[in-house]
């Protein structure tokens, strides 16, 4: 990969990260209270937000896929779909339990800290430890995104 494309990708990273963090903060999704109130079904903000996000993204991605869209920097758009396996259920139960107790998840935990909530640091430390424990157990870094994005390494598509 050329250096120029690498630095372009780094800018994409920081830009999308910033928009993501900013939107989470705009919705107060970094606040324990927001998550907790949704999980005890007092205020369903988190679920409405997730449903609305999915309702907007799903048809657009479907359309782009159908039209064989090319991405700006990384060749043809390749969505990935996998069949459910045991790890999705086991991981879901563990993740859901932790989500309910800590009242945060990876992206909101970062925004928690930038909003001045210092216990977010404790959450971030725990998340790092949990991911690391799995890495030690399986001897490979965990994959991100939909399932394992099989056959699609993190940056292999970039710059062809």
């Amino acid at each position: 990969m050329a250096d120029k494309s690498k630095s372009t990708m780094n800018m994409v990273g920081i830009g999308f990260g910033a928009m993501f963090g900013g939107i989470l903060a705009a919705g107060r999704l970094h606040e324990y209270e927001t998550i907790h109130k949704s999980l005890v079904l007092e205020d369903l903000y988190v679920f409405y937000t997730m449903a609305a996000a999915i309702a907007v993204a799903t048809p657009l991605l479907w359309l782009l896929e159908r039209r064989h869209a090319r991405t700006a920097l990384a060749g043809p758009l390749t969505l990935s779909r996998s069949m459910p396996e045991k790890n999705h259920v086991v991981g879901g139960v563990l993740f859901g339990t932790g989500w309910a107790i800590a009242g945060t998840c990876p992206a909101p935990a970062l925004v928690m800290v930038s909003s001045g909530a210092w216990l977010g640091l404790v959450a971030i430390g725990g998340i790092f430890l949990g991911l690391y424990l799995r890495e030690v157990q399986t001897r490979e870094p965990a994959a991100a995104g939909e399932g394992k994005r099989r056959g699609i390494p993190q940056v292999a598509h970039f710059g062809k």
């Binding site: 690498k6 005890v40 996000a53 999705h88 216990l119 690391y132």
Partner: protein, 159 residues
Amino acid sequence: MFDVLPDQLPWWFVGPALGLLVVGLFSVANQPLGASGAFVQASGLLRRRPDVAVWRVWYFVGMFLGGLVVTQVLRDTNPLRTGYDPMAEVFSLPVMVVLIFAGATLLGYGAAVAGGCTSGHGLCGTSQRSLASLTMTGTFVVTAIIVSFILRALTGGDL
């Protein structure tokens, strides 16, 4: 600092904005807008692993900075605080630290087992119409609701 944003924008604005962001990152870079992957890469960089996707580390930094701009610049400055007021009414600080650390470790491990978290599976995977992501998302949402009510029962309705 400037207090130009309301406390909480409505879900019908925040949700679609997140949805467009998911589509945006796929359209630009063919990548999911997942957060746990960014933690994996940031952790790899700190431990000097050789095969780190550096742009994901910038993405990690970006999430922090985006939050900083919104909470500290566009809103009235957020002071230093625990961030866990409802929990502080029930538990002492040391207990909270233990609970939050344990919960976060569990969710980090769970995200690694499942291959994604609220964003990777919950938003991006489901939007790709992946049954695996739908299963994972349904499982963690239902589990979290049940666990929250168990916690509520265990604390005599206080939490």
